[in-house]
Symmetry: D2
C-alpha cells in the first residue's frame, strides 16, 4: 500500500462479467478510487457487482453524464467497445478498455482519433505486459542481458475451445486469440512486421471449421529489421493454459515459463511430476491484472504515460488482419510502408 496520491477518482465500470469483476476489485483497491457506477445489460450482474463495492447501477448515459466520474473501465462485449470509447472520450473520461478495441480496423481507427482529439488517457487491456515474469524478462532484455534480440518463439495455447457460438462472433482466432501474441511480438522485439505468413488447421472440433474458423495456427513474422518471430497457437491443450515465449539474442536467450499453482514435486514409480500450469487466464494473469489497474490508476492520477495504448491495439489488429489474409489466401502478406 503506497501512500494515496492525494487525488480521488470516481469510476464507472461497463460490464459486470468475470473480467469486469476482477478489474473492479483491483481498481477499488487503489487509494482514492471509488466505484460509482456499474453498467450492464444484465441488471442482476450489475446489481451484484455494485453492491459489492457500494456503487450504483446505471445506464451508459447516466454514468457518463455524471461530471464527477473521471474514468470509464470498459469490460463489456467486444461489439460495444468502440461505442463506449467514443462516448467516454467525448465526455472527457479517462478510458480503460479490454482488448480488442474493435473487430474492424476502421472503427478502431475512429476510436484512436477520438481519444487523440479528446486528449484523454486511453489504455488497452494487454495485461500480459504487466505480468511479473514477462515484464521482468522485458526489463532484462532492455538492460542488454542477451545483446540484440533476434528470434522470438511464442507458444500460446488455451486449455479448451470456447463454445462455437462464441467463436462465430469472435472475429476469428487471429483477432480473438492471437491479438495478445501479436502485442507480445511488438513489445518484445521492439520492431514492426514487414511480412506475415500464417497457416492453420481445424484439428479439435469440426464445428469450428463449419463456423469458418481454425483452432491451430502457425504464424511467422519477419520484421523490418530482419528479426524473426514464430507463434504457435492452439485452442486446446489437454494439459491446460500454456503461455510461454523465448527470445534469442546475440548474447543469450531469455525464456518466460509457465506459472504453477504450487511447487510440489511428486516422485512415484513412474515419474517425477510437477503441477500443470495455472488453469486459465484469470488465474495465470491474476498478478498482471492487479498491476494493470495500478498502472491505469497512476496514469489517471499522476499523469504517468500509458504503457499499452490504443495505437498498440491498432497495430495488433493490423497484424491479426494480415495473418487472417495470409491464411485465407495461402500466401505471404507484406505490410504497408
Amino acid at each position: 500500500m503506497t501512500e494515496a496520491a492525494g487525488k480521488t477518482i470516481d469510476v464507472a465500470v461497463f460490464g459486470a462479467g468475470r473480467i469486469g469483476r476482477i478489474h473492479a476489485a483491483n481498481l477499488a483497491r487503489q487509494p482514492g478510487v471509488r466505484l460509482k457506477y456499474v453498467v450492464d445489460v444484465n441488471r442482476e450482474a450489475a446489481a451484484a457487482l455494485a453492491a459489492q463495492h457500494g456503487a450504483q447501477v446505471a445506464d451508459i448515459d447516466g454514468a457518463l453524464g455524471d461530471a464527477a466520474v473521471g474514468a470509464s473501465v470498459i469490460c463489456s462485449s467486444t461489439d460495444t467497445h468502440s461505442e463506449l470509447i467514443l462516448k467516454s472520450s467525448a465526455a472527457g473520461k479517462a478510458v480503460f478498455c479490454e482488448k480488442p478495441v474493435d473487430l474492424t480496423l476502421e472503427r478502431a481507427r475512429a476510436c484512436a482519433e477520438a481519444v487523440e482529439r479528446a486528449g484523454v488517457v486511453c489504455m488497452i487491456g494487454f495485461q500480459r505486459r504487466y505480468d511479473p515474469t514477462f515484464s521482468a524478462l522485458k526489463a532484462r532484455l532492455e538492460a542488454g542481458e542477451i545483446g540484440t534480440p533476434e528470434m522470438l518463439i511464442v507458444t500460446s495455447r488455451d486449455p479448451g475451445a470456447p463454445p462455437v457460438e462464441y467463436i462465430k462472433h469472435s472475429g476469428g482466432i487471429f483477432k480473438d486469440m492471437l491479438i495478445h501474441d501479436f502485442d507480445i511480438f511488438r513489445w518484445i522485439l521492439d520492431d514492426e512486421a514487414h511480412t506475415v505468413h500464417a497457416t492453420g488447421s481445424c484439428l479439435s472440433d469440426p464445428a469450428i471449421a463449419d463456423a469458418g474458423d481454425i483452432d491451430s495456427t502457425a504464424v511467422t513474422i519477419r520484421t523490418k529489421r530482419g528479426r524473426l518471430c514464430q507463434i504457435n497457437t492452439a485452442r486446446r491443450a489437454a494439459y491446460g493454459y500454456d503461455q510461454r515465449f523465448e527470445i534469442l539474442g546475440s548474447a543469450g536467450m531469455l525464456q518466460a515459463g509457465n506459472v504453477k499453482p504450487t511447487e510440489v514435486v511428486a516422485w512415484s514409480k513412474t515419474a517425477v511430476a510437477q503441477d500443470v500450469p495455472e488453469a486459465f487466464f484469470l488465474e495465470r494473469y491474476r498478478a498482471a491484472y492487479a498491476r494493470e489497474m495500478a498502472h491505469f490508476h497512476e496514469a489517471v492520477t499522476q499523469g504517468v504515460r500509458v504503457r499499452t495504448t490504443v495505437a498498440d491495439g491498432l497495430k495488433a489488429l493490423e497484424l491479426a488482419e494480415a495473418a487472417a489474409q495470409s491464411w485465407r489466401e495461402g500466401r505471404v502478406v507484406t505490410l504497408g510502408a
Copy 2:
C-alpha cells in the same frame, strides 16, 4: 470474494510492526471485519496503521474493555504475547497470536489453560501450514499418494542473521527459528517426537557465539512410531530464503520446493539460470498470511475448528526446549511419556 458470512466483527490489533500491518490488511479484507483499535507502544506506528484502516489508537485496557471488540490480533513483541493472550481471553475475545506463545513453557501452559477456561477461539500464527504449496502437499499426503510417511527432511535457512541484539532476546535459535520447523515436523509426520538430537555451530558471525547462541543446526527426531526427521537450519544462506521439505513415504516422495518471484530462465555462455527464491518470509509467505487470516475469520465467524492451536504452540515449544537441551548437553533427549 465469497459472500459475507453475515456476521460482522470488530478487531483490536496489538503491534503495528511489519507483521502487524500484514495481518491487519489481510483481516480488513474479510467481509464484515472492522479494525477498531491499534495498540502499540510506538504511538506513531499505531497512528499510521490506524489511519490506513479507519481505526483508533488505544491502549491495551481501552481496546479490551470495549465489549464490541470480538477479536484480538497479537503481533507485538514476544515478551508481551502471554500477557495479551491472558487478558484477551479473560475479556472473552477470540485470539490470534503470532508464534511463539511464550519463551517459557510455564507461561505458555498458563496461556493454554486460560484459553481453555475462557472457551475462546485461539489460533497461533504457524502460517506455513496455510502456504499453498505446503498445504497442497499435506492434502496429497493425506490422500495416500505416497503411502505411509516414513522420513522427513526439512531445510530451513534465512538469508541473513538478525542483529545480535535481537538474538540476545530471541530465546535462542531453537525457539526463535526452528519453532516453525518443529511445527512442520508434527504436522507433516502426524506423529510426536520420542527422541531428539540436536547439534550446531556458530559459523557466520562470532558475535552470535558470544551471545551464547549458534547459527547453524542439525536436528534429528525419531518419533513414537519410529519415523525419522532431519532438520537443517542456517541463519545465513547467501542465495536467500530457503524453505523446502521432502517427505519419503512407502510408495513415493513429495517435495515442497522454493517459490520464485518469476519464471524467467536465462541462458548465457556459462549457465541456465533461474530466479533465486522469494527474498524473505514476508514475500515467501504472502499467500500463506492471507489464507491464515481468512481461516481465523472463518473460525471466529463460522465456528470452524482452528487448525493451528495453542496446543500446537506448546508442542513446538517443548521440542525447541528439548533440542536446546540436547545441543547444550551433547546428548540425545527422550521426551516424556
Copy 3:
C-alpha cells in the same frame, strides 16, 4: 554386450575426420566387426585411424575391390557421398552414409535407384533418431500417450557458425543444417509436407550474407493431414548447442529437452544455475552415434530393417529444396502430389 550374432564382418571406412573416427570406434565395438580399410585423401589421418584399429590404409578401389569387405562406412566430404554410394552398392557392400546423400536431388535419386537395384542395405546417418531422449519420446508418442499428434515445434541452434569457406560449399543452411530438422519433422509427425514456408535472415555475420546464405531461419510446414510444424534455426546460440522439440497431441504434449554434462545446480546471490547444454553434436549425440552403429550392425548381420533409409534422405532433401525456394522467392511452396 549382447551375444555376438555369430557373423563377422569386415568394414571399410571412408573419411578419417572427426565423425569418421567416432563411427569407426562405435562399429569396432560391435561383436564380430573388423575395421579392415581406412580411406582418406589425407593419408596421415587415414594412417592414424587405421593404426588405432589394426586396419590398413587403402584407396577406394582397393577397399571396395576386396570381396571380404561387407560394408562401407562413408564419412568423407559431402561431394564424395554419391560416388561412394554408387561404387559401394555396385560392389555389393552394405552402405552407411552420413547425411546428406548429396546436395542435388538428381544425384541423390540416382543413389536411391542404385541401392535399390543392388539390393544392399543402405542406411543414412540421421543419428538423432537413435538419441535416447528422442527415441523414447517417439516410442511414447506411438504408444498413444498424447493421442493424435497435431503440432510440432523444433528448436535447432548451433553454438556458432562454421567458417564462411565451409558455408560456401555447404549447399546452404537448409541442406546443411535443417536437413536433420526436416527428418525429425517427418519422423515425429509421421506425415508428409503439403506446403512449406521459409523465411530467414543473416544476423550474426555479414560474410554469410555475402556468401549468399542466411544464418537464422523460420520454417513452417503444413502436412497433408493438416498437422503443423514450425522449425526455428540459428547458426549461433551464445549458450551453446540447442536441440529441443515438442509435440502437441490431442491428449497432451511431449517435450525433448537438452542434455546437460552434469546435474550440478549452483545457488548464488543472483541465480539458481544449471549447466548449459552439451557443447556440440559430438558430445550431444554421443549415445546416438553409438546406437546408430549398433543398428547398422544389426541391419547388416541380422537383416533387421534399416530405420533411416536413403528414401528418408531424399525426402529431407526435397524439403530442404522447397524451403530454400520458399525463402528465395518469398512465397509458400506446395509440394508435389
Copy 4:
C-alpha cells in the same frame, strides 16, 4: 581416447559377478591393458568373463604367481577382500579393491599396513568420487565458488532392499550402504568427524529387523572444524535410486542432482512429468565406473597418485562403526583424538 601411455599391463580379475564384469570391460578399454586371468569360485562365471576378453580362468595362487601380472582387480565377495589385498600386495601387484576393505577395522588396518609395507598402488572403489556430476561439484567447491563449506546434506536411497540373506552377512546398513555416504562426507567437507549421532528404524520389512538391522537411518556428524553433515538413507525408495547431496557454503550452495535416463517431459491433464532417476548403481554410476578404471590405469602406468586410498576406506569404516555404535547405544559417539 588419449594416446597409449606406452606401458602395457597384465591384469587378474577376482570375481566375475556384475561389478567384476563392469570393471573388466572398463579396464580392458584402457590402452595397453590385457586381462590375463579371471578368478571366481563360480567357474562358469569365470569362464564366461574370461572368454569375453581372451583371458584364462585361474585360481588365486595361479594368477598371483604369474610375475607378468601387474595388477589385481578385486570384485569378489566382501569376506575375501582382505585376504586378496594381503596376497596381492605381498606379490607386488597393484591393487584395486571394491569397498569395503573389510567388515572389521582390525583386518582393514592390517591391509593398510600390508599395502604400505609393499609400497604398491592400492585403490578402493569409492566410485562416486569419479562421477561427472559429483566431481564437477567438488571442483567448483575447491575453486571457491561457494566460499567455505559449512553444511552437507546427503540423500542416499536404494530402490529396494536386498534379500534378507544378503543383509545378514552385509555387516549392517552402516557398513554396507552408508560406507559410500561417509566417504562422500569426508571428500566434500574435507574434514574429519568429531561426533557422530545415528538413529534409524526398520520401516519396510520386519524381516530386516529380525536380522538385527534397520532399513532407514538418520545420521548427523559434527566435524572437528564445527561443520555439520546430515545423511538420510533408506533401503527402499519407491521411485528408484536416489543419490543427491547439497553443500551449503558461506557464499552459496551447490547441489548434485539425480541423473535421468532421458530428457523427455510429458505434459498431461494432471502433471508435468520427467523421468525417474537411473534405476540403480550400475546405471547411475556407469560413467563413474569408467572413469574410476581409467584413474586406476593412470595410477598404475603413470604413477598418478591414487584418489581413493585404503586410508579412505579405513576412515569410512571407522565412521560406519561409530554410527552403528551410536544407533545401538542411543547416544552421541565422540571419535578419537
